[in-house]
């Protein structure tokens, strides 16, 4: 079991599944649970199929060095995207992801369509649930495949990495389903932004490490340097959050001064 891979996949999946769960819940409440769960399970099966086929193809046909370079670059892209979003949300420049608001929005949309709860399978409900789980899960599948296949030292270990990542993602999925079934409401208490931030740090760290290795970089202290990179990115992120908070305060102050000037002119 590769614990770093499993935990990264777990955290990434938790974020995405919480977002997907909100839509599944809306469909379940407004139409029926049969359609909602059918769509969700069909999407989960599609994702499992994607991970199995793409994962096996990567493990079998792509050399480890080339894989690490390509995966490193992709993980840096992914990681920076996640890190940027979470830093903007921490600093208040961007609003936090509000599951309650998203739930209400989708609820209103479905009700506006005139959909009512019925016992039969409702194609629109199945499709909506399927689309939500598939789209949110696709990013997780990508992380599971790339992260899982690259963490290995040898070709034989590559499939173990994918298995570990898949286990991490599956545990997150089961946990979200259990929590959702218990609460029967949008999972607003899950600290989505913190999870996103941690995953962003992990993806950027591993991405930098593997991309560097792909270019023949000999990192000091070998694998221990991953921790050094993580701490470095963590510190840099905290500094950036503080800086953005200051920038936001300054912008708000300027806006207030401008408003006051306009009022004074009137």
């Amino acid at each position: 079991m590769q614990w770093a891979v499993a935990s990264a996949a777990f955290l990434a999946s938790a974020v995405e599944f919480v977002e997907a769960f909100t839509i599944v819940l809306v469909v379940g409440v407004t139409m029926n649970w049969r359609s909602s769960l059918a769509g969700a399970f069909a999407a989960a099966a599609t994702l499992a199929l994607i991970i199995a086929t793409l994962g096996v193809a990567l493990v079998e046909f792509v050399p480890l060095d080339a894989l690490r370079l390509a995966v490193g670059i992709i993980l840096v892209l992914f990681g920076l995207k996640w890190l940027k979003k979470s830093i903007l949300r921490y600093s208040g420049v961007k609003a936090l992801h509000d599951e309650e608001a998203i739930y209400e929005e989708h609820l209103a949309e479905i009700r506006a369509r005139g959909e009512k709860p019925e016992a039969r399978f409702m194609p629109f409900g199945v499709a909506l649930s399927y689309k939500a789980v598939l789209l949110e899960g696709l990013e997780v599948a990508f992380i599971v495949i790339t992260f899982g296949s690259s963490v290995a030292k040898t070709a034989a270990e590559k499939s173990i990495g994918i298995e570990s990542a898949a286990i991490g993602a599956a545990i997150a999925g089961v946990l979200v389903i259990l929590l959702g079934a218990a609460v029967r409401a949008p999972l607003t208490k899950v600290p989505e932004n913190t999870l996103k931030f941690v995953v962003g740090i992990m993806l950027t760290t591993f991405g930098t490490f593997w991309a560097g290795e792909g270019f023949g970089v000999n990192w000091p202290y070998s694998d221990v340097f991953i921790l050094v990179l993580a701490v470095l990115y963590l510190l840099a992120s905290f500094v950036l959050v503080l800086w953005l908070k200051q920038v936001k305060q300054r912008q708000e102050l300027q806006a207030d001064v401008q408003k006051a000037a306009v009022h004074a002119q009137k």
Partner: protein
């Protein structure tokens, strides 16, 4: 009557949509994408151009600094947009 689009435009649109979807899925931010591409190009040059191989030892430092600069640049662009 509906005017037909030129052949290239008619066929380009679905591909553009696919490319845009992939771009949004993987990164969705031009600063990050361009920054990472430039960084990788520099690292590739340091690795494969014989005259520059003496600078290869700095590849790791360049990569880490580039990642931090990209993050800083994309965040500062967001604040300016606000």
């Amino acid at each position: 009557m509906c005017k037909k689009l030129p052949f290239t435009r008619r066929n380009r649109r679905p591909w553009l949509k696919v490319i845009k979807a992939i771009y949004n899925f993987i990164v969705g931010d031009m600063v990050i994408l361009v920054g990472v591409i430039i960084t990788m190009a520099i690292l590739a040059l340091l690795n494969y151009v014989p005259g520059l191989t003496t600078l290869k030892v700095a590849s790791g430092v360049i990569l880490v600094i580039a990642v931090l600069v990209i993050l800083l640049t994309t965040l500062s662009r967001e604040t300016r947009a606000k």
